[in-house]
Symmetry: C2
Subunit: 259 residues, 2 copies
């Protein structure tokens, strides 16, 4: 099932996507809901970020193939022995179709990082790796947009990865996928620039959720990113970036310069 | 004016504190509100964190007198030339009277960091240092609780400073204080262990808010901490820690071991 959050005229609602239609639901996507008789054409609604997370969790380095590229930025040359979570700024949340804005005081070295994203369905604390999947509602696509000069220069990633618009997620949550075998492809202006499979994650989504939950409560709607892989490259104003995951959908964003 | 958020029986409300009473308000503390005829004895209500922030911002190193102590943990020996903001986990939010819980898998080297905290009153983006005070509603007391072994061992501070209960703030927001001259005192079991004045901040609250707002939107209720000063020490289960600021009030928390 594909669960989306959308805006039509001035109203915001959740709905279930079926083909080219979106069927409005009543109730909570985290507890109990039913579909209604209200259907819209997908092309007539504005899809929003599929949840309103309390927090956006990133795993740190999580693909061996990303190590060489990451080490040049972070100076850390060893694979991590545990997840190294961090919190991406909530202000950076964005949605499919939303502009990724290159800040005017950035030198412009702004990269995509295509990722799969787990969506928390139930509050959890101190869950085991085995229990963790029960607390995940589904999966979506994400782009951990990164300003590489700021990432090197600053002590923390508040603006390198947390500037406004730097966290597109969507287009919706798919509840029936194999989280251990999601094929993710990034295209820049239609050309493939990045490819990964979640089977190559150093720490699985279940492990990440369990690990974070040992010290921090995860809330319904919270997002847990997979980490990215390989090398990444710069996006320029006028470009379009797509993160596509087989069985989920396509997250597409235009790149614009800040006015 | 002292604006508090509190719980009485099962209802949560905001109120204005006058002496030993709290007067319920109607409306939004960020826009327009009026007091009502409902008054409670302060001792009969449970004070909550005074806002429900979207984000909790920390400034990085912000007192020269904290440099030597911080350098032993962070390995950074120079004073920062700009603020070095970072985002403290929203899950860690706590209130006056709330237990600070020492995680059972911590070695126990958990320290207080007494701070003053600015409360954002209006959404802001790209405000100047001169404009920033207009976007601050008031100030409260905060404790940036820190697990020093995790702070050294991890790549990020997600659990060192973001474990559940590690962010007590309160007891309320004071709207009429001189933000540049707040005297802050921390007491551990009644004995003074830390003292600072906001006039010694390397970057003022106005500067911090302006700097963060260049890349990240700040929302009503967001918290911006001052940073801490000097050396800090360990808190043990059974201890009580107080952060007191002249003209604001006292934030008091017991320390307990996780069960």
């Amino acid at each position: 099932m594909k669960i989306a959050r959308f805006q039509k005229d001035r109203a915001v609602a959740h709905g279930v996507v079926q083909g080219s239609k979106i069927i409005e639901i009543r109730g909570s996507i985290y507890r109990r809901f039913r579909t209604t008789d209200y259907a819209h054409n997908l092309k007539d609604v504005q899809l929003l970020a599929p949840t309103e997370p309390v927090q956006i969790w990133q795993p740190g380095m999580n693909f061996a193939a990303h190590l060489a590229h990451a080490a040049a930025i972070t100076g850390i040359h060893d694979l991590p022995k545990t997840p190294q979570p961090w919190v991406k700024g909530r202000n950076s949340l964005n949605h499919t179709g939303g502009d990724i804005v290159i800040p005017k005081d950035s030198g412009g070295d702004v990269h995509y990082e295509g990722e799969a994203v787990a969506v928390i369905g139930r509050e959890c604390r101190r869950v085991t790796e085995k229990e963790a999947p029960d607390y995940i509602l589904g999966y979506t696509c994400g782009n951990d947009v990164s300003e590489r000069a700021w990432q090197k220069a600053d002590n923390f990633m508040w603006r390198a990865k947390g500037s406004d618009t730097f966290c597109p997620v969507g287009p919706w949550i798919e509840t029936e996928v194999d989280a251990g075998n999601l094929e993710m492809v990034v295209k820049l202006n239609g050309k493939e620039v990045q490819r990964a499979c979640t089977k190559d994650m150093l720490f699985s989504f279940a492990k990440l959720v369990s690990y974070i939950s040992q010290q921090a409560t995860l809330y319904p709607g919270d997002l847990v990113f997979s980490g990215t892989t390989g090398a990444t490259s710069r996006m320029k104003p006028g470009d379009t970036v797509e993160v596509a995951i087989d069985g989920i959908g396509v997250l597409q964003n235009p790149i614009v310069a800040e006015k």
